[in-house]
C-alpha cells in the first residue's frame, strides 16, 4: 500500500479533474439538500436561513392534519401515476414487440426515426402542438366547423385534463421508451425461437415462454424506477397547462410546492411537503427494489 503522500502525488491530477464536477454537485445537490432545514423554520427571506426561527413540526401541519388542498394534490398525483402505470407503461412494450417483428429492416429504421423524435421536443412545444391540434381554435375543431359538425371542447376542460396529459406523455415518450425493450429483445436466441416453432408452439406461447423471459428483468427494472417516481408527475407539463383548467384538477405535489413556496411565499410548508416527497420517493425505490429481489429479479442494483 502506498502512503497517502505517494497517492496524493500520483493522483492529484485526477482529483483536479474531478474538482469542477464535484463542486457543482456539492453546490447544487448537497447544499440545497441541507437547505431542507427550512422545513423546520418559519423561513423569512430577509432573515435568511441562519436567522429564521425554528418552529418544530409546524410546517408539516397540512400533511399531518390532512389539509384538503394538500390531500387533493396528493390524490391527483397518485391518480395520475396510477393512470400512467396502467395505460402508459405497457405501450412501449407492445410497440417494441411490433417493431421487433417487422421483417423489413429499412421500414423498421424509418418507423423508429419518426417515433423516437417527439422525445427530444420540450414540453412547451408538445403542449403547444396539442393545443394547436385540439384547442377550441385548433385544427380538429376548425375542420369540424368547416364540415358543419359540432365541435369538441377538449383543452381547458378540467374533467379531461388527466386524459389530456396522459395522451401527451404517450405521444412524447412511447417511441423513445421502446429502445430499452428492443435492446433486450435483440438478445432473444433465434435457435430457441425456431425450436419452439418446430415444436408447434403458438404465437402466444412463443411470446410467453421464449420472448418474455428476455425482457422481464427490464420490465421489472423500469417498473421499479417508475414506482420510485410515483410522487413526481410531469411538473413542467402540468405547470404549463394549470392556468387553463384550475388547481382542482391539476394541482399535484410538485405544483403544490411551487405554488405555495415560490408563488405564495409560504416557504416552510412548501419545503416540508417537498422534503416528505423526497424521502418517500427514496423509500419507494428502495422498497420496490427489495420487492424485486424477493421475487428473484435483479432490480436496480444487485444484492
Amino acid at each position: 500500500m502506498h502512503s497517502l503522500r505517494d497517492r496524493w502525488r500520483r493522483d492529484r491530477v485526477l482529483l483536479l479533474l474531478a474538482l469542477p464536477g464535484v463542486t457543482a454537485l456539492l453546490l447544487f445537490h448537497y447544499l440545497p439538500l441541507g437547505g431542507n432545514i427550512i422545513a423546520f423554520q418559519d423561513f423569512q427571506p430577509f432573515l435568511g436561513i441562519w436567522h429564521s426561527p425554528y418552529v418544530g413540526l409546524d410546517n408539516f401541519e397540512p400533511v399531518l392534519t390532512g389539509d384538503p388542498v394538500f390531500l387533493s394534490a396528493l390524490a391527483n398525483t397518485l391518480i395520475i401515476t396510477l393512470i400512467q402505470v396502467v395505460f402508459v407503461f405497457p405501450l412501449p412494450i407492445c410497440l417494441a414487440l411490433i417493431l421487433n417483428a417487422t421483417i423489413s429492416e429499412r421500414l423498421k429504421r424509418l418507423a423508429q426515426s419518426i417515433l423516437y423524435m417527439p422525445h427530444f421536443l420540450s414540453w412547451v412545444i408538445v403542449v403547444a402542438l396539442f393545443q394547436q391540434m385540439f384547442g377550441n381554435g385548433g385544427m380538429l375543431n376548425a375542420w369540424l366547423r368547416s364540415a358543419d359538425l359540432s365541435t369538441f371542447h377538449i383543452v381547458g376542460v378540467p374533467e379531461l385534463f388527466k386524459l389530456m396529459i396522459t395522451s401527451q406523455v404517450i405521444w412524447k415518450d412511447t417511441g423513445w421508451s421502446t429502445i430499452i425493450f428492443l435492446a433486450a429483445l435483440s438478445r432473444v436466441d433465434p435457435a430457441q425461437m425456431e425450436a419452439a416453432v418446430v415444436d408447434g408452439a403458438s404465437a402466444v406461447r412463443r411470446l410467453w415462454h421464449v420472448t418474455l423471459p428476455y425482457i422481464r428483468p427490464v420490465i421489472v427494472l423500469l417498473l421499479i424506477l417508475r414506482l420510485g417516481d410515483s410522487l413526481s408527475v410531469g411538473f413542467e407539463q402540468i405547470i404549463l397547462q394549470q392556468a387553463q383548467v384550475g388547481a382542482g384538477a391539476s394541482e399535484v405535489l410538485d405544483t403544490y410546492v411551487y405554488n405555495h413556496g415560490i408563488v405564495g411565499g409560504d416557504w416552510g410548508t412548501a419545503a416540508a411537503v417537498g422534503l416528505i416527497k423526497g424521502i418517500v420517493g427514496v423509500a419507494l425505490v428502495l422498497g420496490a427494489n427489495r420487492l424485486a429481489h424477493a421475487l428473484g429479479e435483479q432490480g436496480v442494483y444487485a444484492k
Binding site: G35, V197, V257
Partner: protein, 289 residues
C-alpha cells in the same frame, strides 16, 4: 420468425403507420401554416394542410429583430456555452472516476451516484441559487445542471471499456494523466462524447422551468419562455414585440407557428446525428451500471 400471418402483418403495419402519422401530421400542419399566405390562413379559419402561395413573411416578421430574435440568440448562447462547460466537467469527472483505486475515487463515485436517488426539491434549489447570487443570471440556467450524474456514469463506463494497456504503455513512456486523457482516451471516445454532448445540448435548448424560476426580467427570456407566452398562453404578439419595421403583420397563427418551427428546427437538425449513435448497449449498460 414463425410463419408470417397476413392478419398479423397487416395489423402491425397499421399500428406503425398510424403511430408515424400521429407524429408527423402536427408537424406538417404547423409547418404549412407558418408558410401559407394570409388569404389561405384566414380563409381556412386557422390551420391549413396545403399552400399554393408559400411565403416566408412570418419568419421575416419574427427574425428581423424584437423579442423572438433576441430569445433565439439567448437560447443559442446558453446552449453553446452550457454544452461546452458541461462536456468539459463531465469528461473530467468521468475520467477521474474511471480509475478504481485512485485517491478518494470511491467516495466521489458514491456522492455522484447518490444525486440520482435524491432530488433536493424546488424550494431549497431556488434558495441555493438565490444565496449564491445567481438569480436573474444566465449562469443559473447552466451551473445547477452542469453535470448530470447519469451522463457521468455512462461516460465512465465507456472510458473503462478502453483497454488499460493503452494507458499503461503511455504512462511508461512518461505521459501524464492529462496527456493520456487528451491523446488516448478522448480520440477513442468520440461516439460517447457526441451522444452526451447532444443530450446536454437538447436539455439546455429545451429548458423551460429553470428559466421561469430564475430569470426575472423578460428581456433575458430564452425561446421556450417566449413560446409559452405567445403560443401556449396565446398572448397576442404584435409590432411592439417584433421589430417596428414590419408592416402588414402576417396572421397571428402564422407568426405563432413560425416561432414553433424555429424552436423545433435545431432539434430536427441535430436529431439524425444523435440517432446515428443510439447503439443499443450504451444506455442499457448505463442503467444497470
Amino acid at each position: 420468425m414463425g410463419e408470417p400471418s397476413k392478419l398479423g402483418f397487416g395489423a402491425r403495419g397499421l399500428v406503425l403507420g398510424l403511430g408515424c402519422l400521429a407524429v408527423l401530421v402536427p408537424f406538417w400542419a404547423v409547418l404549412v401554416t407558418s408558410i401559407a399566405s394570409p388569404a389561405e390562413v384566414n380563409g381556412a379559419g386557422g390551420f391549413v394542410l396545403w399552400t399554393n402561395q408559400p411565403t416566408l413573411d412570418s419568419y421575416r416578421a419574427v427574425l428581423s429583430g424584437g423579442i423572438v430574435t433576441r430569445a433565439l440568440l439567448v437560447s443559442a448562447g446558453i446552449t453553446a456555452v452550457g454544452t461546452a462547460l458541461s462536456l468539459v466537467a463531465t469528461i473530467a469527472l468521468a475520467y477521474a472516476l474511471s480509475r478504481p483505486g485512485s485517491l478518494l475515487q470511491k467516495p466521489i463515485l458514491l456522492m455522484t451516484v447518490f444525486t440520482l436517488l435524491f432530488n433536493p426539491g424546488i424550494i431549497p434549489m431556488y434558495l441555493a441559487v438565490k444565496q449564491l447570487g445567481l438569480l436573474d443570471s444566465y449562469l443559473a440556467l447552466i451551473l445547477p445542471v452542469l453535470v448530470n450524474a447519469f451522463n457521468v456514469i455512462v461516460m465512465r463506463a465507456f472510458f473503462q471499456g478502453i483497454p488499460g494497456e493503452l494507458r499503461e504503455s503511455a504512462y511508461m513512456d512518461g505521459a501524464g494523466e492529462m496527456r493520456i486523457l487528451l491523446r488516448i482516451v478522448l480520440p477513442l471516445s468520440k461516439a460517447v462524447v457526441s451522444v452526451i454532448g447532444l443530450f446536454y445540448a437538447v436539455a439546455y435548448w429545451n429548458a423551460f422551468f429553470s428559466a421561469m424560476l430564475y430569470l426575472q426580467s423578460s428581456e433575458k427570456w430564452p425561446l421556450q419562455l417566449v413560446l409559452r407566452t405567445y403560443v401556449v398562453n396565446n398572448t397576442p404578439i404584435g409590432s411592439d414585440q417584433l421589430s417596428s419595421n414590419v408592416e402588414n403583420l402576417p396572421p397571428q397563427i402564422s407568426v405563432q407557428m413560425a416561432i414553433l418551427v424555429i424552436s423545433v428546427l435545431p432539434i430536427l437538425f441535430v436529431y439524425p446525428f444523435i440517432q446515428k449513435h443510439f447503439a443499443k448497449g450504451l444506455m442499457v449498460g448505463a442503467v444497470k451500471g
